[in-house]
Symmetry: none
Subunit: 207 residues, 4 copies
Amino acid sequence: MARVPPTKPRKNALQARSRATVDALLEATARILVREGFEKTSTNRIAEIAGVSVGSLYQYFPSKEALVAAVIERHNDEIMKVVRAAFVEVTDMPIEKAVRRLVTVAIEAHHIDPDLHRILAEQIPRIGQLKDVEASNREVHALVRAYLERHRKEMRKIDPDIATFICVSAIEAVAHNTVLNGAEMLTEKMVKVLVDETTRLVVGYLR
Amino acid sequence: MARVPPTKPRKNALQARSRATVDALLEATARILVREGFEKTSTNRIAEIAGVSVGSLYQYFPSKEALVAAVIERHNDEIMKVVRAAFVEVTDMPIEKAVRRLVTVAIEAHHIDPDLHRILAEQIPRIGQLKDVEASNREVHALVRAYLERHRKEMRKIDPDIATFICVSAIEAVAHNTVLNGAEMLTEKMVKVLVDETTRLVVGYLR
Amino acid sequence: MARVPPTKPRKNALQARSRATVDALLEATARILVREGFEKTSTNRIAEIAGVSVGSLYQYFPSKEALVAAVIERHNDEIMKVVRAAFVEVTDMPIEKAVRRLVTVAIEAHHIDPDLHRILAEQIPRIGQLKDVEASNREVHALVRAYLERHRKEMRKIDPDIATFICVSAIEAVAHNTVLNGAEMLTEKMVKVLVDETTRLVVGYLR
Amino acid sequence: MARVPPTKPRKNALQARSRATVDALLEATARILVREGFEKTSTNRIAEIAGVSVGSLYQYFPSKEALVAAVIERHNDEIMKVVRAAFVEVTDMPIEKAVRRLVTVAIEAHHIDPDLHRILAEQIPRIGQLKDVEASNREVHALVRAYLERHRKEMRKIDPDIATFICVSAIEAVAHNTVLNGAEMLTEKMVKVLVDETTRLVVGYLR
DNA sequence: AATGAATGAGGATTCATTCAT
DNA sequence: CATGAATGAATCCTCATTCAT
């Protein structure tokens, strides 16, 4: 059995100073991750950039992986906040409007710190099972499924699990590929076209 | 400027013995990659598993990355062979039949050595720009686009680039997520359902 | 463009413990250099002899060359201290007495750790331009030149740069060849003869 | 006792083809030595540049050092040819004229392939005792000594060994430093001045 | 709590040399 | 004789982690 590094943060960092240190560490990790890549992200360098000693780093995080996991978690939380809000907003909307909104949010969410997003996407498999990310995935599926069941009447007859899988895959794929293909130079018009088309793709499928 | 390790193979290994060595190295790399992950894939270990000395490894590959790049290339070639054949087969089929065939092939192609596929998918960004993979992406886009233009009359009016982007994203997403979600325990029935649904998704969008 | 290893020390080692480590490393390097030669001087061996881990070595020196450079520098400093003192002492002496003193000091200076001196002399070109050594060379030239100008009246008319070049070359050559030819078995009497003759050579030339 | 690599050439290479191979190897070694330095001079690279297989290299030279030794020897021979001729020419000349001629020749000899000369000068100590070079040194001393004894009457009373040591040192030093200090940009006028001055230095000393 | 010096296993890579063909 | 593929010991260097202060 391969030895897997521990990934849970060491303390809850309730104190203010601790909190600041932890933040600095996460910030530093994210920055280095983006600028240098995972291989070159060393704990010594993270500590240095965070303006903290390595010793302190290990006071709060038991391993390099724990640090990266925490960064992933933080990023994931940000995205999920946006996503959850969207689902609240969308609950009672008719399919077409709802899908349009969700697609828009999906693309927006993928554009929160897109460089970091890209790097993290690569690292997630490496860090072992991120409970957090998996949970988020499941949550998204649940939310979509719930919406679909609630709006069953607007749709053709269709297995809700399959439909969820297909819809989530399609929307995520567009959002994901959009980040990859030069996230920066994305004009508003192009986003609109993408949203229109993806909405059509999904709605057409559900009806 | 980040220093990137060289990724071009060193010799072309025309002789039989050389060819065998190279093959053994690629096989070993693939196996270790799958079983231990990229970080733990060391050149010494690769050489050992390949039953070859490290020196020989470096005779043919200038770096660890070059080795991984070659494995990626090989895997990519296999996939592309299948994909190209599918497009030939599909050229004159009507949309519905063609999409169904292409979706099927996409899922099949992602299941050629699915564990390796998963690992490689993660490594591709790390290895720098793989000319090969990018070229394949472009080729797939071109093939889809060509098909769509040829069958324009069966479809609603639609920008061919956008349509290509959407279709490729959707099909790939399903295929990709299918590998990730336990490729092994995929029943024939489930595949059929997935193919049906994805076909519906795409065809519905194009019509 | 040939890649040249970095040669600047990494930290200034202000703390006492650091200082001790650095000293041990330099000492070890010097010893191995003398006993085994440059090629066989490996960083692992240096660390071992210094009673320190390789990691610590690289905490203070970015490369093997940096270590050797530091040893050269240290040796150079020792020599220059003696040489500078000699020039102070000599400023107002008449030519004959001054030259005699300088020749004596040159030979003595070359005999500070003569084995190390020999090895280092070989390595200096290999380590790239040692700012330090070049600076010392220039300084010696400047000191000689200054002396000659100050004592112009005791000498025939002569271009000071040429004279400096000739005098430095001659004195250094004798000192250098003396170390090479079995530094150990050098009797006092022989040294006296050498000093006498070299003094005569130089003074004869200047008058 | 340190293991020293063998330095004697393996065969006498009487055959024409052999001769050509050996020449190509020596030429290649010299070129790489000059262009890349000793560390980077590998036997594989030498063979490649020489257009010969490594195997063949080892047919003629038992080790890398043997190869370098042979290059040194060849260079040394060239220099010694010139030097010996000079001594023949000079035998019956009066001191002043003779010294002037010898100094000129010394400078010229140091400028036969000066880049190679520089590199070799560094390597000679590393290659262990080069019988050849030592012999040449002794021969030069003997030639000088012989000349001095023959012309004793033109000189003051002086121990011939000491005188030889001093003269050889002085002349070599000037020649050596001249190569080191930018051999390339040496004008004829500067050479003349150097010769004049060095001659004066040495003759002044002997008289 | 914080510090940062020290650790040392481990990994990538080179290169002189051999030897089967 | 020539070839060049194969060898593998040896080397440099990194970096996660610990622990005395």
